[in-house]
């Protein structure tokens, strides 16, 4: 039994193992990165659906909430801002604006019992509420995907592979401090 043979066997097995491991690590990082893009696209799909529901909501509310022009315009402007936005950050910001505007609108709608009894309003309200819940869930899912990716690329030995292929940490979806403030409501028909 000679040392050359032992060295040769160990070298071949070792290098093959190293190559297979490195390839597996690279594939994992690619999967994690693509999972984030997919998670964002799934949020975008829901945002688009909510975006399409807003004109129906404003139409129904228009005939009842004649004196709440500002509130209705807030929803319309937020919708317009979303359609103009590009990229993850702008869309996330626009989405926060729509959420705020809708919250204000539904709170104001509480003052109009006729509107609340309108079947079309109820249907659209339910649909938008369900969409909002789904959007909130998918935002959490997106952040979880980003978290898994960020942890993985900072662990050894994935850290070295990540640096070689230029993978960097990605930001989480956060809510701007202005959007965390309570919504101020002003009712046009408030009794003196």
């Amino acid at each position: 039994m000679n040392g050359t043979l032992i060295l040769g066997i160990l070298l071949v097995f070792g290098i093959v193992g190293l190559i297979v491991y490195a390839v597996g690590l690279y594939n994992t990082l690619v999967r994690l990165s693509n999972n984030i893009d997919k998670a964002w696209s799934n949020i975008d799909v829901m945002l688009k659906q909510r975006h399409d529901e807003l004109p129906k909501l404003v139409d129904v509310c228009n005939s009842y909430m004649k004196h709440e022009k500002d509130t209705l315009e807030g929803v319309t402007n937020a919708r317009t801002a979303y359609s103009r936005s590009r990229g993850v950050d702008e869309k996330a910001q626009a989405e926060n604006q729509i959420t705020q505007a809708l919250g204000k609108l539904f709170a104001v709608a509480e003052q109009y019992p006729d509107l609340k009894a309108n079947q079309q309003f109820l249907t659209v309200h339910q649909r938008i509420s369900a969409l909002e819940n789904t959007i909130a869930d998918r935002r959490e899912f997106y952040n979880e995907s980003v978290n898994l990716y960020n942890i993985r690329i900072e662990q050894v030995p994935a850290l070295w592979v990540a640096r070689q292929i230029g993978y960097h940490a990605r930001p989480l979806l956060t809510v701007a401090s202005a959007d965390r403030e309570d919504v101020r409501l002003a009712f046009a028909n408030r009794a003196a």
């Binding site: 066997i9 070298l11 071949v12 789904t134 979880e144």
Partner: protein, 435 residues
């Protein structure tokens, strides 16, 4: 389209009024196609009826190229506002401030048009900056990809070279060992076992990589709330519930939502006794998984099952099987009687009980004929697909990963070690140098 003044590309700005405006990011002016003016000026009729006075070049507005069709722009003036009109396509080039001036001088009784011309220029400037940063990001991405490709080539050549060197050393070692080799012993059963050991070790290593891939997949996918499942590969966890009625596990009779069974018969031969599988299968009925947000149907066909709690029943001392097992076997159409009384059978089953926590990793798909609904229980189901894994387990994700981690360690560590050890033993035992 380019600005007639500075030749910069015009930026398209969407507007509340409808059509997109082409605006110069350098704030020199904006372009309106023929017929769009009525959307931005209240009293368009008055504008049209006013005679358009041609302005001489001495008024300071030079004739230039139309941004749209390349024709000549004629300087014009209406309601004391200067602009340029294209002879060919009839579009208007309005210098900075002209649109606001026209709208204010041509007020009408129609719906109020509120224009914020400075905002158009600001947005054009921002969009231009964004597209520049995107272009530079694309350029730097291409540069990074170029460098990344170079790095990949470096590592490919380096590892390829190291592998080649390793092979050369191995061949040199084999030649050195085999060259003056005499084989004092004829190949025997021990050599066969050692060769099987090498093959088995490599097989374990490959299995270990497959388990590692599965573990990596489970780790990399976050758990989705069922309410917001998206179509595609998903991971859910929740309580198991039957779709219609509860099933009965075949051999124990336990009420369950899903079961799998495995029946083996004992065979005697000259070499000894062994257990031979005569039947195995799973229940076909789908079941629901429910968490705090909703429930979704799981169709367990073709799933990889990780249900470690097996219940096994066998023949007793008198050679008979329990009555419940008898009934289960006859329901499954498996004959119990052999030539000399009952066969010696080993019956294993595993099941998912109602309200038991279950983990599912599979592909969420739309049900055929599903009506559009926000409830995932009506719209989606989780099943198998060609492209993705499908795993069902009654363990939590954490317990599953822990179990997989140990398996990967055992197979990936033990497999290559076994192969190397058997290979070395072959050369040590069967190869000697010299007579």
């Amino acid at each position: 389209m380019q600005c007639p003044t500075c030749q910069k590309d015009l930026v398209e700005i969407p507007t509340f009024e409808g059509p997109q405006l082409d605006v110069c990011p350098g704030q020199h002016g904006l372009w309106l196609d023929a017929g769009e003016m009525n959307l931005f000026v209240e009293n368009y009729r008055a504008l049209k009826e006013t005679s358009l006075r041609a302005v001489s070049p001495g008024d300071g507005i030079p004739s230039s190229m139309c941004p749209k069709c390349g024709g000549l722009l004629d300087p014009k003036s209406v309601l004391e506002t200067a602009f340029s009109a294209c002879r060919a396509c009839q579009g208007w080039w309005l210098p900075h401030g002209s649109l606001t001036q026209l709208n204010e001088t041509a007020r009408g009784a129609a719906a109020t048009i509120r224009l914020n011309e400075p905002e158009f220029y600001n947005r054009a400037e921002k969009r231009r900056a964004t597209s520049w940063s995107k272009e530079s990001e694309t350029h730097s991405r291409r540069t990074r990809i170029g460098r990344r490709t170079q790095d990949l080539w470096f590592w490919t050549i380096f590892l390829g070279g190291a592998f080649l060197l390793g092979c050369l050393i191995l061949f040199a070692g084999i030649r050195k060992a085999v060259g003056p080799l005499h084989w004092p012993m004829a190949p025997d059963v021990t050599l066969l076992y050692l060769a099987l050991g090498v093959g088995g070790g490599l097989g374990f290593a490959i299995y270990g990589f497959m388990l590692n891939h599965r573990k990596s997949l489970i780790e990399s996918i976050p758990t989705s709330p069922i309410r917001s499942l998206a179509v595609g590969l998903v991971e859910v966890s929740g309580r198991a519930q039957p779709e219609r009625e509860l099933l009965r596990a075949p051999f124990s009779g336990l009420p369950c939502v899903f079961f799998t069974y495995h029946v083996e018969a004992r065979r005697e031969s000259r070499n000894g006794t062994r257990w031979e599988t005569i039947a195995k299968g799973t229940s076909a009925e789908p079941f629901y998984v429910q968490d705090e947000t909703g429930k979704v149907l799981v169709v367990p066909f073709d799933a990889q099952l990780i249900l470690p709690d097996n219940r096994t029943t066998r023949n007793n001392w008198f050679g008979t099987l329990p009555e419940q097992t008898h009934q289960g076997l006859s329901k499954l159409g498996i004959a119990v009687d052999g030539w000399f009384g009952e066969k010696t059978l080993r019956c294993s089953e595993a099941s998912i009980l109602p309200e038991e926590t279950v983990y599912v990793l599979g592909t969420a798909q739309e049900q055929r004929g599903a009506v559009e609904s926000t409830e995932n229980s009506d719209r989606l189901y989780i099943g198998s697909s060609r492209d993705h894994h499908f795993i069902i387990s009654d363990r939590s994700e954490k317990a599953l990963l822990s179990r997989l981690r140990w398996q990967v360690f055992a197979f990936l560590g033990g497999g290559p070690a076994l192969a190397v050890l058997c290979l070395l033993l072959i050369f040590k035992t069967y190869g000697t140098t010299g007579p």
